[in-house]
Symmetry: C2
Subunit: 247 residues, 2 copies
Amino acid sequence: MSLQRRRLASCEDLTVPALRRLQGLAPLTDSDREAIRRVGSYRDSLPAGAELQQEGSCGGARIMASGFACRQRVLPDGRRQIFDFLIAGDLIGVAADQPLARTAIAALTPVDTLPAALLRECAADAQRFPGLCAAVARCAHEEQTRLLDHVVRLGRQTGYERTAHLLLELGDRLAAAGLGDRRRFPMPLTQEALADALGLSVVHVNRILQQLRRERLIELRSGEAVLLEREFLMEIADYRPRPSAAA
Amino acid sequence: MSLQRRRLASCEDLTVPALRRLQGLAPLTDSDREAIRRVGSYRDSLPAGAELQQEGSCGGARIMASGFACRQRVLPDGRRQIFDFLIAGDLIGVAADQPLARTAIAALTPVDTLPAALLRECAADAQRFPGLCAAVARCAHEEQTRLLDHVVRLGRQTGYERTAHLLLELGDRLAAAGLGDRRRFPMPLTQEALADALGLSVVHVNRILQQLRRERLIELRSGEAVLLEREFLMEIADYRPRPSAAA
DNA sequence: CGGGGGTTTGACGAACGTCAATCGGGGTGG
DNA sequence: CCACCCCGATTGACGTTCGTCAAACCCCCG
């Protein structure tokens, strides 16, 4: 495995996105926060393309600290379908019983994860870590909600609508993780990754992006996306942010 | 609501499909079986088109006794996406916490359901009803697994492959519920329902079915489907039955 | 004998995929 | 510093899949 584990200097705290994310899902107590902070002493770095988890087997619990990954399935003839993207603050293998949690996971960019075996224990102890438990449940919740949206996108929207919808969703999620805001956020995904998520070909995704640019609805360059006309995009895509609760 | 509740004559036992189905999911004890049988004293009959549940709100717990229903979402412009079909023996609103369980449910044919509030309580009491609990969990499990398969179908398979895949899945499920076998089973779904599940237009579904018929891979008439070349269809659709466990 | 919902068919156009070539930028070795 | 290279982005040409419109058909049922 091309995995690199490093002890962290205390200055670079990779638990920040996770804290921010989980706090957005449920109110956290001090002990909740402390439990999350404790997992931040090591990180595992993986290169783009690495497989974080195989389908079926559920690896150890982890927190995404940086980079982009995806849940995916690869067909025998090489076709790939991406179920969902994973970004900083997302939990892996904490609510490990459901099928969605057992999909294969692959790194789309270089990825840092924090091994979080502790979290799994804490998440089973609702007495001492009420906020953490709620947040973990809500995270699985949101994943499933996104999967439902994904089905509608793939089944009943055009490529143009799908693309707009996905960009809006990514913007909201990244903003919730503290990476940029809903209008402007990091977008290091290749058009191939987008295509495999949207059920389109790379060439067609490229043309759709060109069109969105020509129409001055988005900008997309050097790893950053700008949604110039966010409101209009929301209409096009029939995008309605799902309530994420908490405060 | 166009709901009709009737007391049942003891001769027509509508719990049979549920018993058969749940037994296939987990070994049942006598008390498990008894709990299931007890819900069978009333049935609610709904006509095709009726809404069993609205999106978001999770109605009372029920067991599908007969007929076909579906989980669905309708877009503001009228487009509809079907997430999953519900058949005899399927549980509704028992594992009510996950988003998938809170989708809208509509009857596609006349449907009988058994009000099963009792079941929800039993399913929370793992001491007295171990098999029931396991079966309920596994039912939710299978639903999510089917949703993942559905995403792959919609995103990465052609209409032809999708259709074959869905027919195979329906055959396996109906056989597990004791309705026909995997080669020959009831198929009262309209082509419009198939289209809304497969993300295709009615016309295109019709042409795909015509082709499958011309190629002598299936027969489909008067509410019954026959998979003439099941093995070959499985290859076409890259269909692999998911392990359903138990015995 | 109508009527209505579902199915089937044809004609046409739009959405999307494939193939292939080119372009462009960042990294790397000389 | 520069040439090279590689991966991803872009573009054009062309073919297929799939959607839409509209009409006909069929069957079941009242």
